[in-house]
């Protein structure tokens, strides 16, 4: 009975109570299904590798991954690696987003420039940036800077395009309005274009997080002394696939957390 009451908490009528119960029960069953699925996936993996249906040497297993993590924690380098990659990703994606916004602003400021650069942006956009890694090493050195550059290279063009696009789709009524007040182009930008596009910028951030992770991991594949990408490469070199899988799992978790953090910010912004 206690539970019933919780399920119907906040009800404003018996009908509402019924609705709330159904809604919350459904929510509950969604969560149960999610957790069951998670359990099945992880449990099934462990079970299959213990039974020998899949080769734990190649595919690792949850317990072996945990053991690997424990080992790294004991050595005190677990969090160093994570922090390293996390830092690089954050810098890379903030940098890419910021530079993208600046670039979009410059292009917006000059319609002529935007027309001239348009085909170049398309080419740069279609070019698989992961292939550029070696060029960064040559020009920027085999270190932190190259990794960041990789992350920025992957994010900047798409950010520029998305944000420039959103600059152009700002409600024309806003523009008519401020122009009728006699606003100049800078005021137009400061008062309308920029604030109107903040939600789009945050949405771009959401895409960029994923891309920045790709950039940093690829960058770490190329040059690195530490970080999760380094652990993956190193794991392959010494044929320790548990290390590889562990790094992948951590990347998945971190990338998801960052994505959700931005989704949360996005949600907040929608509600002002």
């Amino acid at each position: 009975m206690k539970q019933m009451i919780t399920l119907e908490k906040g009800a404003q009528s018996t009908h509402h109570a019924r609705f709330l119960r159904k809604y919350r029960l459904q929510n509950l069953s969604v969560w149960i299904a999610r957790l069951t699925l998670l359990f099945l996936l992880i449990g099934g993996w462990e079970w299959a590798s213990q039974k020998g249906y899949i080769d734990p040497f190649l595919f690792s297993s949850p317990t072996l991954i945990l053991k690997e993590a424990q080992h790294l924690i004991q050595e005190g380098v677990f969090f160093t690696h994570i922090l390293q990659t996390f830092l690089e990703t954050t810098v890379g994606f903030l940098g890419g987003t910021l530079l993208g916004i600046i670039l979009a602003t410059i292009i917006w400021a000059s319609p002529f420039l935007s027309k001239v650069l348009d085909p170049y942006l398309v080419v740069l956009n279609s070019l698989p940036k992961v292939a550029l890694g070696p060029i960064f090493i040559v020009t920027l050195g085999a270190g932190f800077v190259s990794i960041i550059a990789m992350a920025i290279a992957i994010t900047i063009i798409i950010t520029t395009l998305v944000i420039y696009n959103s600059f152009q789709t700002v409600d024309p009524n806003y523009l008519r309005l401020v122009r009728s007040f006699g606003a100049n182009r800078f005021q137009l930008y400061r008062l309308i274009i920029f604030p109107a596009c903040i939600p789009n910028m945050i949405a771009a951030l959401k895409v960029n997080v994923g891309l920045a992770w790709v950039g940093v991991i690829v960058g770490e594949f190329l040059v690195s002394k530490a970080g999760l990408g380094y652990l993956i490469i190193y794991g392959f070199q010494v044929f320790n696939l548990h290390l590889v899988m562990m790094s992948l799992a951590i990347i998945a978790i971190l990338a998801t957390l960052m994505y959700q953090a931005i989704a949360f910010i996005e949600h907040r912004f929608k509600h002002i």
């Binding site: 409600d171 009524n173 806003y174 008519r176 309005l177 401020v178 122009r179 009728s180 007040f181 006699g182 606003a183 005021q187 008062l191 309308i192 604030p195 109107a196 903040i198 002002i272």
Partner: protein
């Protein structure tokens, strides 16, 4: 009262690579200071184009317009423009929205801001100053837009179908508000609408545009007996029906 707005032989063309659209053709009319002109006409006959030109949003290629004897370009800041879509900035509170024009024109002094907030009171929305636009109904939002434009003390007020998205009660309420503000401030006003009843209820004169390209078909004077009564009552006035039918015949479908 003297002639305030003078439009002579105004033709406006829209161009793209493939073709030319003539939106307005040889429009001429003049407007006395403090008077209220309503422009009606079927969809696409160039009403919004005319208003946009008056608001300084499009350049004048053929013909000329003077405001109080000066060229239009020199008077931009003395013109206030209200659109059908209220265009309230979603990320600003109502108060911040109302002072937008003051900020743009660099005159956001304490005194002017106070005047803006007084206008907000006057349109009956002083109590929602700290709300955001999405918390307001359509009629309230349009009232804010009106206050925002009046805040910069324009000498000429232009309104492009400001009430056409509202329901009838809100519409008449806002018409009444606008009419009383006009009577009180004696600001020269041009309103575009496709609602013929609204035209009769508000205007001193009604200008009918017609056809493609839009040409001036007729300017109809509204009798003084109607001019000074509230919009709701105008609709019941004995002269109303015949005026409506006159207009109806002039406007083409």
């Amino acid at each position: 009262m003297s002639t305030y707005v003078e439009v002579r032989d105004l033709t406006h063309r829209y161009w793209d690579v493939k073709s030319e659209t003539i939106a307005l053709k040889e429009i001429s009319f003049s407007l006395k200071e403090g008077s209220f002109l309503v422009i009606v006409g079927s969809s696409g006959c160039g009403k919004s184009t005319l208003l946009s030109i008056l608001a300084g949003l499009y350049p004048i290629h053929e013909g000329f317009i003077t405001i109080d004897g000066n060229s239009l370009a020199s008077c931009q800041k003395r013109i206030g423009y209200v659109l059908q879509k209220d265009a309230l900035l979603a990320w600003r509170t109502i108060k911040q929205n109302v002072q937008l024009g003051l900020e743009i024109q660099g005159i956001a002094t304490l005194k002017n801001k106070q005047y803006a907030f007084d206008l907000l009171d006057q349109v009956g929305l002083g109590h929602v100053g700290d709300h955001y636009p999405h918390q307001l109904s359509g009629g309230m939002r349009q009232r804010v837009a009106l206050a925002r434009t009046l805040a910069v003390k324009p000498d000429l007020l232009l309104l492009d179908e400001p009430f056409s998205a509202l329901d009838i009660k809100n519409k008449i309420h806002l018409e009444t508000l606008l009419k009383s503000i006009h009577k009180q401030q004696k600001k020269t006003t041009i309103l575009v609408t496709h609602d013929l009843e609204e035209a009769i209820a508000l205007g001193d004169d009604v200008l009918v545009l017609s056809g493609h390209p839009g040409t001036l078909r007729k300017i109809m004077k509204i009798p003084d007996s109607i001019k000074n009564i509230p919009p709701l009552e105008v609709r019941g006035h004995t002269l109303f029906r015949s005026l409506f039918e006159d207009l109806w015949r002039e406007v083409d479908l």
